[in-house]
Amino acid sequence: MQRHREIAAAPLRSTPEVWKIVSQLVADTLDRSPEISRRDIEATLEIARPAGLLLIAGGHLDKAPMVLVAGAVHLSITTVSGDAALQLEENFNPVPGAAGTSEWTLYLPTPEPVSSEIRRIANGCPHLSAKEPPGSTSATAKSESIVLDRDAFLRRR
């Protein structure tokens, strides 16, 4: 089941404070599986921390989600910045569905200009990925819109 959590960033919270909440949400969601070690989760999130800081402070996570996939869990996490952050109703409850799974991956978005840095960080850890998360429709939707635009352009010529 796909779930989405929005976390208020600045002007409500600083970048490290937001990353702490993201980490806690991911860890608590995965903690429901006895097959996944808390130490493994924390080590992975420590590796992912620089990517989290870049994505949050640059406003990139406002637009492109970080996605946790673990068993039945498909959790998209985005941030909300600016005026809207001060009125956001947040839900930090862990998402059910990870119980019984031992496999999990945190998919990191790769917006420019931080894409190569995010890929470098993700390459260092088996539970991190800079690829498109499974079940995402954005890649298909993008390519379809490109074809439609090109066809329309050709018809005009």
Binding site: S14, A57, S116
Partner: protein
């Protein structure tokens, strides 16, 4: 006509502007291919210091210097801060992220091995912050300045950006 009241504090503006400055510096350094290890290591300390100095309205500008392996310093990016002590009632929190993305295309490339240094200058004596001490900026004599204009605004202040190369 119904009315609503929104109350923003100077703290909100300080949190917002500090995050935007950190994010802009990270984007610029990542774009230039500069090693970000030290930025990550000191991130919490630096964002906290910038926020505290904006909150006490002592911060004049944040300066990002790129130090090339040959000893030259270029580019230099300055983030001057202005304050609205009484606040602007209908001001919103805005950031010119799309303009920043276009502006980055103008950045001069730097050679491999380029490092960075952060400085802050002040309008008045600042409260001490962990990890920060006196330092000397490199001379910007001979560098050409290009103004980006306003980078981010909040009800109690704004930050602009200048690019020197």
């Amino acid at each position: 006509m119904p009315t609503t009241t929104r109350t923003f504090t100077l703290v909100n503006t300080a949190v917002y502007l500090a995050q935007v400055v950190m994010g802009a510096m990270a984007d610029i350094l990542a774009d230039l291919g500069v090693d970000l290890t030290e930025l990550y290591r000191d991130w919490e300390r630096d964002e906290s210091a910038i926020r505290a100095w904006i909150q006490e309205q002592s911060l004049k500008e944040v300066v990002l210097e790129c130090h090339r392996p040959d000893g030259t310093v270029s580019p230099v990016i300055e983030f001057p801060v202005v304050y609205y002590p009484d606040g602007i009632a209908d001001a919103r929190f805005t950031t010119q992220r799309a303009s920043l993305a276009r502006f980055r295309a103008k950045l001069e490339r730097v050679p491999r091995g380029t490092t960075f240094r952060l400085f802050c200058t002040f309008l008045k004596h600042p409260a001490p912050q962990s990890g920060w001490g006196p330092g000397s900026r490199s001379s910007t004599e001979g560098l050409r300045s290009l103004s980006f204009g306003s980078l981010a605004t909040g009800p109690h202040g704004a930050v602009a950006m200048r690019y020197l190369r």
